[in-house]
Symmetry: C2
Subunit: 184 residues, 2 copies
DNA sequence: CAAAATAGTTAGACTATCTAACTATGACTA
DNA sequence: TAGTCATAGTTAGATAGTCTAACTATTTTG
């Protein structure tokens, strides 16, 4: 008995995420001090936004066959061109991930010819990683979308809102940087 | 030859994420129109914040042995207590994930006794999912932390900044909701 | 009643991580 | 200098959270 059509909706691939209203409702039921409710409410919106901002970027990058993590890696390598040589360990430190994770990402990128590994002559334990011309071409193709998606995240804030928001973003940035023990 | 000590740093588990400065630098090098640079900059900060906000929540929930996705599911079930019965399909719609993913999450939660499944008598294809007393206890234990982490995301914004930010968050929320095709 | 739709599950895939342990190499020290 | 320790990269195996495709059981519909 043939069942070739999956019953899953294959047309609309992007399911919408749950809104925040249910959470706000739950908050009203369970949060303790009234004084904090407004903060909590705003925090919930921030959490929701965070999820969805990352989603939006993912979706916009998808047509290029690359994810944000991998693009991050390529951007980092591009930044290093013509400066100091960079090694997997260095990449791990800069990206805040383990060396083993870097190995996996590099394997993937190398398989597609976007990065190359070369053993160091001085210290034969080390490997110098660099982006290839093909990798650079890909990045140059992706960047316009990347930047425009970044810019689009601001939505339709007017000039005044933007300028206040800029200050607020700076504060939030520093506050979280402190909380996570400031990247270095 | 014994090598019992991993050479990985096991003391400081949380590696800091890459700062945004490198990205800003790259933006200065490659972004086209000067008019948009400020927007892009702000978008980059938003992207960075998004990543790190989710991380902060993950880290704060970790001690309870639960992740945000799973807590989301439990909160949803808690909201439904005493209202309409909820099925895996319904959960999938509300959370914006596939039915198959719901099955996986429910399996995990059920194994720990935090949710239970019961076949519907009316339509024997359906299953009614509910949170157990143990699940409710867990949620009640986690919620204070959850709310306080939410509130902490605002950092040290002063009263005026908060009130402006509240308006801005609303706008951003609506804008992204539109972009992703508004849940529901 | 037969065909189509729906509900839940399973199987298998993928991304992005992690830890632990391994190999090779280099550096330090007694 | 030999032995120990440290460092660089990899491998193996795990986990979370998702996905699609296909399957079973059941219900609805024409």
């Amino acid at each position: 008995m043939e069942r070739k059509t999956g019953n899953e909706c294959t047309a609309d691939q992007q399911l919408p995420a749950l809104g925040i209203d249910p959470y706000l409702e739950l908050m009203d039921k369970t949060a303790a001090q009234d004084a904090d409710r407004k903060s909590i409410r705003m925090g919930l919106v921030m959490l929701w936004l965070s999820d969805n901002i990352l989603d939006v970027m993912d979706v916009d990058l998808a047509p290029f066959g690359i994810t944000e993590s991998k693009l991050d890696m390529l951007l980092l390598l591009m930044l290093h061109e013509g400066r100091e040589l960079i090694t997997p360990s260095g990449i791990a430190d800069r990206l805040g991930i383990r060396r083993a994770s870097v190995t996996a990402l590099l394997d993937w990128l190398e398989k597609r010819g976007w990065v190359s590994r070369e053993q160091s002559a001085k210290d034969r334990r080390m490997i110098h990683v660099s982006i290839t011309p093909e990798g650079r071409a890909l990045v140059n193709q992706v960047l316009p979308t990347f930047w425009s998606t970044c810019a689009s995240l601001l939505g339709d804030l007017d000039a005044e809102e933007r300028s206040v928001f800029e200050k607020i973003l700076g504060k939030l940035h520093r506050s979280i940087e402190t909380k996570i023990g400031v990247g270095r």
